[in-house]
């Protein structure tokens, strides 16, 4: 009988625990079922907001384009618009010098001595390093970049040429001074980002120094703009495609 009683008690306790578990599981399953709906609604709401914003932006663009059209009709205004456009395009192409706030990065080869068996290349600044830094500067919102006063344009190359580096067909050597015009804070934080390329360079022992500058000047590109093979496509033809 004693055996019977204790077994009944343990059965009772276990059943109690089982009941609690069942109830919690039941509640959880039910709540999951409910929670599956709201995200979908949220998703759709997000989409709706996005599309509405897009539509608003597009309608604004329509207004701007109409205004431009109106300006083109009025000749005086068209000339001014063209001048404005030319200015912008020239800045983008690097055919005119620009000035403004930004940062200056100075890179130089490492001064540390080689460890036994180490490749001496590890201590040098390479063309890839400059390329990666220029790329990161662009990603951080730089509006104009130069390396050792060679303006980086859409046509610029940065490549190894023996012991020197070629930029715009001009040979440059260390120390490398990279100038970038843009929001100095943004540019600096973009360069100093954890795990960024500059950190890697510093880790390798390359001397790197960043300086925020209120006003710096970046010269125009020295490279002539010749288009031997590329021909512009007429606007009307392009529209047909």
């Amino acid at each position: 009988m004693m055996q019977n009683k204790s077994s009944q008690i343990s059965l009772a306790i276990v059943c109690l625990v089982l009941g609690v578990m069942l109830a919690i599981q039941f509640k959880t399953t039910e709540s999951i079922g409910e929670e599956f709906l709201p995200p979908r609604v949220e998703d759709l709401t997000q989409k709706l907001i996005k599309i509405t914003e897009e539509r608003d932006a597009l309608s604004e663009e329509v207004l701007a384009l109409r205004e431009k059209l109106e300006n083109v009709r009025q000749n005086d205004q068209a000339m001014a618009d063209l001048q404005d456009e030319l200015q912008k395009v020239s800045m983008a192409a690097g055919t005119i010098a620009v000035e403004g706030p930004g940062i200056v990065i100075t890179l130089n080869d490492s001064t540390r001595s080689l460890k036994a068996g180490e490749n001496p290349n590890a201590l040098l600044v390479h063309d890839q390093d400059l390329l990666m830094l220029v790329n990161e500067l662009r990603a951080s919102g730089a509006e104009a970049i130069s390396v050792n006063d060679e303006r980086i344009t859409a046509m610029s190359e940065i490549r190894c040429a023996g012991t020197m580096i070629l930029v715009n067909w001009t040979k440059i050597g260390p120390p490398f001074v990279i100038k970038a015009i843009g929001d100095p804070v943004m540019l600096e934080s973009g360069m100093l980002i954890k795990g960024g390329y500059l950190e890697t360079l510093k880790f390798l022992g390359i001397q790197a120094n960043i300086q925020k500058v209120d006003k710096l000047k970046i010269p125009a590109s020295s490279r002539p703009m010749n288009f031997e093979f590329a021909n512009p496509v007429k606007f009307t033809e392009e529209a047909k495609q």
Binding site: S6, S7, Q8, L11, V17, L18, V20, L22, A23, K27
Partner: protein, 113 residues
Amino acid sequence: MIVWLLIFFCLLLGILVGLNIPVLLPIVYAQYMSIAVLAALDSVFGGIRAYLEGSFDNTIFISGFIANTFLAAALAYMGDRLGVELYLAAVIVFGVRIFQNLGIIRRYLLKKY
């Protein structure tokens, strides 16, 4: 006869308590909990069967209940980590055993009454 009332009453009490306490499992763990519940269910049916057969052992019952519950949840969790749907094994084993035990309990009751 008393044992049936006891089981029923305790189960009901447990469900009521569980429904009223404000505990909600994170969705991530709900899957493991479901396997654990299945293991617990299996243990309880096994216990009832042993009780009816007169071979009930308190230690085996309690330890089996706890160990099975956690083992099943752990197995399901490990399966998720490994990318193998191990919880299916638990579902099948416990499912089969629950039905076996239920069948034995049913037969026993039919014989008795």
